[in-house]
């Protein structure tokens, strides 16, 4: 029977078609291929919505659609589509944001008279296709392949303005750093194949299931001489390398701020809503595997918590609006990692969703501001834009409140659940989680601070420059997406009001939990809940814990916002960073993360390469040339015996003969 699922491939292919169209005939189309992209993403969006509804009807889908390499006496490598609540939700998010970004681009790129638009829209189309392909991937190899394509697209789009020095360099850095992570990912993929003989995510033969069985001794897999537990941890951490790279987690986060060199819609789509989400999504996708390894989870949680705090502190001092958002992105993904590591599968997914909306919103809002400011991004040149561009302001505000985690905006609910899950599991006897929790909690304060510092500096007070006082106006194609996302950012929290449920005892309003429980038995949240090696404990009762947790985080957020209000919500704000003293420089330089990585690349690798080159030229090739020159030299000596004097010939001839005679005489014993 032909169901909606048979059209699932189309969700991926439509944007791909738009890529081809834009690439081939984009320059002959109106709007340089934008319309094709919009049509395609709209189509994908509709299909995704239909798929979503079908999944809501309790059906999931997992089918192999293409055999990439058919193994003879070996495993097949296939492409398949896995649609379950998780991927259905992600499809919806990605298609929606992609669609909005396409529309927004009309205002940001076309109206600004950019050149090379076909290239731009082709990139967007290809990116959307790759991302969707990654989302629906039903095995690790396919996931990796689209993961890489996503990386390519980010390279192309970050480097869109290739005629300037900055963007190409940033693009290179982005690809290189993520490539470094992907190296471990690829090793992980290969290891998964070698271990389980399959890389499928779902089904009774999927590698998480096999791993579980192996741990219970019900199945035997090749663990290369390690204990299964240890080996699975190793494999998990290898794959995690790719996650850390793509989701810009410490220490591979350095590429993301630079990636702001790209056009702002690209930043919104790629570096906020979707591509960076790929890493987290991957962990969620194969959570059944990670849940088996306490060590892996602990490490994930630590990375997440630390990144959340670490990035937040850096966001405090930035001058450019996009930089602030960049570091906030890193920080927010830290929260998701924290949740995953802390056993909060649903919480992570929840925050993934809400963050997608409000971060996209914030970037698009920033884009709108940047248009208004004639592409000047320095917040200290702005101020007082509130009156000039109200739509942008209120949408941006909604996003900011969500980001800061202020009740009742979406960010509050998700972040709160993240922290709550971590807390109870930490209390359940896992000090590591408590440490991570502490860092996450502390980050809430900084988040509130830098968010509102940004808001106040940008929109409040008096215009600090000519452009700020007379900003460029924006059109519907900018305002529309902002409005949509603004509403979403404000409201999406309502899909999972766990605290309300816990406190007021209203059952069944944790829709997201129910949603994610609908998946197949090896992939649903309930199953993961059983797998995770944590037990829960509470301060007082459950409700009390909820209340305390929510209260504390909300309080910290408000405190941060309040401090920002005190410092920056004044007509003539001044820089207070000097009060930070030495820390200021440290923060300005992002803890010298870039420096040491650049040093690793240029200060270590290149000299080594040069030495290798010298060695190659001198020694390896020297031997080769040495052999020939020695031969020629000996040749030039050998010919010297041909003196040209016939008497010498006679002598040499006689000597030669005599030598032979003597040699043979002695050997043959003639003279006895």
């Amino acid at each position: 029977m032909v169901g909606i699922f048979d059209f699932a491939p189309a969700i991926v292919l439509l944007p791909f078609v738009s890529f081809l169209v834009a690439l081939a005939v984009g320059d002959r189309l109106p709007k340089g291929g934008a319309l094709a992209g919009i049509a395609a993403t709209a189509g994908s969006l509709l299909l995704a919505a239909a798929t979503f509804l079908t999944v809501a009807g309790g059906r999931t889908y997992d089918a192999t659609i293409y055999t990439w390499a058919e193994g003879i006496e070996a495993v097949d490598l296939t492409f398949g589509i896995l649609i379950d609540p998780l991927s259905a939700m992600m499809l919806l998010i990605v298609t929606l944001i992609a669609f909005l970004v396409h529309v927004f681009s009309l205002g940001y790129m076309n109206d600004e008279g950019e050149v090379g638009l076909p290239r731009y829209y082709a990139g967007l189309g290809l990116f959307t296709a790759s991302m969707l392909g990654f989302v629906v991937a039903d095995n690790l190899l396919m996931a990796f392949m689209f993961f890489e394509l996503v990386g390519l697209c980010s390279y192309l789009l970050i480097g869109f303005w290739f005629r300037e020095p900055g963007p190409p360099s940033a693009a290179k850095k982005a690809f290189l750093v993520t490539r470094f992570g992907d190296y471990f990912f690829l090793v992980g993929v290969v290891a998964v194949f070698a271990t389980f003989g399959t890389a499928a995510f779902s089904g009774s033969e999927s590698f998480p299931v096999l791993a579980e069985a192996a741990l219970h001794g019900e199945a035997t897999v090749n663990t290369f001489g390690f204990a299964p537990q240890t080996w699975f941890t190793i494999v998990g951490l290898l794959v995690l390398g790719g996650v850390v790279g793509k989701s810009a987690q410490f220490p591979l986060h350095t590429w993301l701020p630079d990636a702001m060199e790209g056009p702002t819609p690209v930043s919104a789509l790629i570096h906020a809503a979707t591509m960076v989400a790929a890493g987290v999504y991957l962990v969620a996708r194969m959570y059944g595997f990670y849940a088996l390894s306490p060590d892996a989870l602990a490490i994930i949680a630590l990375i997440g918590g630390f990144t959340a705090l670490f990035a937040a502190t850096m966001g405090v001092v930035k001058r450019e609006i996009k930089q602030v958002l960049a570091y906030s992105t890193i920080s927010q993904y830290g929260y998701m990692m924290l949740a995953l590591g802390g056993g909060g599968y649903v919480a992570a997914t929840f925050h993934l969703m809400t963050h997608a909306f409000f971060k996209a919103l914030l970037f698009l809002g920033a884009g709108s501001v940047i248009i208004a400011m004639h592409h000047n991004e320095d917040m200290w040149d702005m101020g007082g834009l509130k009156e000039k561009m109200p739509v942008t302001y209120y949408a941006f505000l909604s996003g900011s409140l969500a980001l800061a985690g202020i009740f009742p905006f979406s960010g509050f609910w998700s972040k709160d659940e993240v922290l709550y899950e971590t807390l109870i599991h930490g209390l359940g006897g896992s000090p590591v989680l408590l440490a991570a929790y502490a860092m996450g909690l502390l980050a809430v304060f900084f988040t509130g601070f830098y968010t509102f510092r940004m808001v106040f500096l940008t929109f409040h007070g008096e215009p600090r420059t000519q452009t700020a006082s007379d900003p460029h106006s924006v059109r519907w194609n900018v305002k529309g997406p902002l409005a949509v996302l603004g509403v979403l950012a404000a409201t999406t929290g309502l899909v999972n009001m766990v605290p309300v449920e816990k406190l007021l005892g209203i059952g069944g309003i944790d829709f997201l939990h129910q949603w994610l429980d609908m998946s197949t038995e090896s992939l649903n949240a309930h199953h993961y809940g059983e797998l995770i090696p944590y037990s829960s404990a509470y301060i007082g009762g459950e409700a009390t814990t909820v209340a305390i947790g929510a209260g504390v985080s909300l309080g910290l957020a408000l405190a941060g916002a309040g401090l920002a209000h005190l410092l920056y919500n004044v007509p003539e704000p001044v820089e207070h960073t000097d009060r930070l003293g030495g820390i200021k420089t440290l923060l300005y330089n992002n803890y010298y993360q870039d420096e040491y990585q650049v040093w690793l690349a240029n200060g270590v690798t290149r000299p080594v390469a040069r030495v290798a080159n010298k060695f190659d030229q001198g020694v390896v090739d020297g031997v080769v040339n040495g052999v020939s020159s020695v031969s020629l030299f000996s040749g030039s000596r050998v010919r010297r015996i041909q003196t040209g004097v016939v008497s010498n010939y006679a002598v040499l001839l006689t000597l030669g003969l005599t030598a032979l005679l003597l040699a043979f005489g002695l050997l043959g014993g003639w003279f006895v």
Partner: protein, 503 residues
């Protein structure tokens, strides 16, 4: 041939000598012409007569070979004059080499001698030398060996010094002659010692009497001295000293003649004498001549190649390269073992000499062509020749790569057949030395190619003429070298069968 097999009375047996007789007669005819025509006889006539004579001899030899004269099928080797001469497959095979080389050389000389006197003398001397070589390949008694050796050598001395007014030619002749005289003296003394031990000169009888215990030392000295004689003829260390100068100084066609035919003749007689007279099985201790040849082979090929690598003059480079090739061919004797695959080894060496006859003659004749044009002798003088004389340059390229042992040319197969059988006989180290040398030889052979094709002409020289004879000979040699790749099958098979009959 069938009737040949039928009439086995002595009247028919001497006909087996037809090739040698034909060559000798041609030489006499040439002299006759010269005496009849008191004015300088016409060059074309002389050249065509001698070419015709040698080709006739070639045809006869080929016919005999195909017909099976002196081979198992027709009752084995034909021995004449009290076993002094023997006609068998091997002698016929070598006759092919001598005669075809002679033909090429005389055709080429047609142009080379255009403005010289005493052409008839030149041609007849070449023919007489060829006769000597043919007899040499048939000699079955140390006496005939020595006589035909001299018959082959004496004309050569004169030919090398043929350009009376050219210092180089005369000096070459002198050196060639003096070394030759010494060598033949050593050779003769060796023969006399062998006779002293065995009391006979006929190879078969020598073999029968060779294991005389008390005189082993004398026999050993004799054998070594005979090796010296052959080493001279084949231009092998330590009797090679004459070769570079002789080849460089002599008229180029004569260099071709000596380095191809004369060398082959040396091998022909060496093969027969050592295999027939001193069979490996029956030797007394301490007279193991195989070891001597192994030493000579290694030293010769190495010295030849290394000295060739650094020459400035193309002709002299070729001279050394021909010493190197003597080293390869010596493998044919050096890789013999009692009861080993000796037929294969010897046959491979013979096949290599045949191919070498084409490519090396061709190379020297190209030099003759260049000398005819008055282009200089160094590598630099050859720069850009390809642009002015493409056809000849292609031919020369073929010769060079073939000498270096690269496909798709005859030299490739013959050289590898040689190494191959050496390994087959278990002497992989001998093959290894040969392989390294031939890989190195690629360096200096390709210098010629580089000069002709890659470099641009340094000084612009005029090519006055396209000498028909020289061109014909060079192209013929080139085609031979090329065609011997596909046609190598019958060659190597014949060679190995006829060689196998010696054991």
């Amino acid at each position: 041939m069938f009737d040949l097999a039928l009439q086995a009375e002595p009247a028919a047996t001497w006909t087996a000598l037809a090739p040698a007789i034909l060559l000798g007669l041609t030489g006499l005819v040439l002299l006759g012409i010269d005496t009849i025509r008191t004015d300088e006889a016409s060059n074309a006539l002389l050249a065509s007569v001698s070419a015709g004579g040698s080709l006739l001899a070639f045809g006869t030899a080929a016919w005999f070979l195909v017909a099976g004269t002196g081979q198992e099928r027709t009752g084995g080797a034909i021995t004449l004059y009290g076993d002094a001469l023997v006609v068998d497959g091997m002698s016929l095979f070598f006759t092919l080499i001598f005669t075809i080389v002679t033909a090429m050389v005389v055709v080429a000389s047609y142009d080379y001698l255009r403005d010289h006197e005493h052409r008839a003398v030149f041609y007849s001397l070449v023919l007489f030398a060829a006769t000597g070589m043919t007899l040499l390949s048939m000699a079955n008694s140390l006496a005939t060996v020595f006589v035909s050796l001299e018959l082959a050598s004496l004309p050569s001395y004169a030919l090398v010094a043929f350009l009376k007014n050219d210092k180089g030619s005369v000096e070459a002749g002198l050196k060639y002659f003096l070394i030759g005289a010494v060598s033949s003296a050593v050779f003769a003394f060796g023969i006399s010692l062998v006779y002293a031990v065995t009391g006979s000169l006929v190879l078969g009888d020598v073999a029968a009497a060779v294991n005389a215990p008390e005189m082993a030392g004398v026999l050993g000295i004799g054998v070594l001295m005979m090796i010296g004689g052959f080493a001279f003829k084949t231009a092998s260390v330590p009797f090679h000293f004459w070769a570079p100068e002789a080849y460089e100084g002599a008229p180029a066609p004569i260099s071709a003649f000596l380095s191809s035919a004369s060398k082959a003749a040396g091998f022909a007689v060496a093969f027969r004498v050592f295999v027939e007279a001193f069979p490996l099985g029956a030797l007394p201790a301490g007279v193991d001549w195989v070891i001597a040849f192994q030493v000579l082979a290694v030293v010769t090929m190495t010295l030849g190649n290394f000295a060739a690598a650094t020459q400035e003059k193309v002709k002299r480079m070729l001279a050394y390269s021909s010493i190197g090739h003597a080293g390869y061919a010596l493998i044919g004797l050096a890789a013999l073992t009692a009861g080993g695959p000796n037929g294969d080894v010897l046959g491979a060496s013979m096949a290599h000499l045949l191919v070498y006859g084409f490519m090396n003659t061709g190379a020297f004749l190209f030099i003759a062509l260049v000398e005819h044009w008055g282009v200089g002798r160094t590598f630099e003088d050859y720069n850009g020749l390809a642009s002015t004389a493409p056809i000849a340059a292609v031919a020369m390229t073929v010769f060079m790569f073939s000498l270096a042992g690269l496909p798709p040319f005859g030299g490739f197969l013959s050289k590898y057949a040689l190494f191959y059988s050496a390994i087959e006989a278990g002497f992989w180290w001998l093959a290894a030395v040969g392989a390294i040398n031939s890989a190195l030889s690629l360096f200096y052979y390709s210098r010629v190619v580089k000069a002709m094709w890659i470099e641009s002409p340094s000084g612009d020289f005029e090519i006055q003429s396209r000498p028909v004879g020289l061109y014909a000979a060079v192209i013929f040699a080139g085609l031979g070298t090329l065609l011997l790749l596909p046609a190598f099958g019958p060659v190597i098979e014949t060679a190995q069968t006829v060689a196998a009959t010696l054991f």
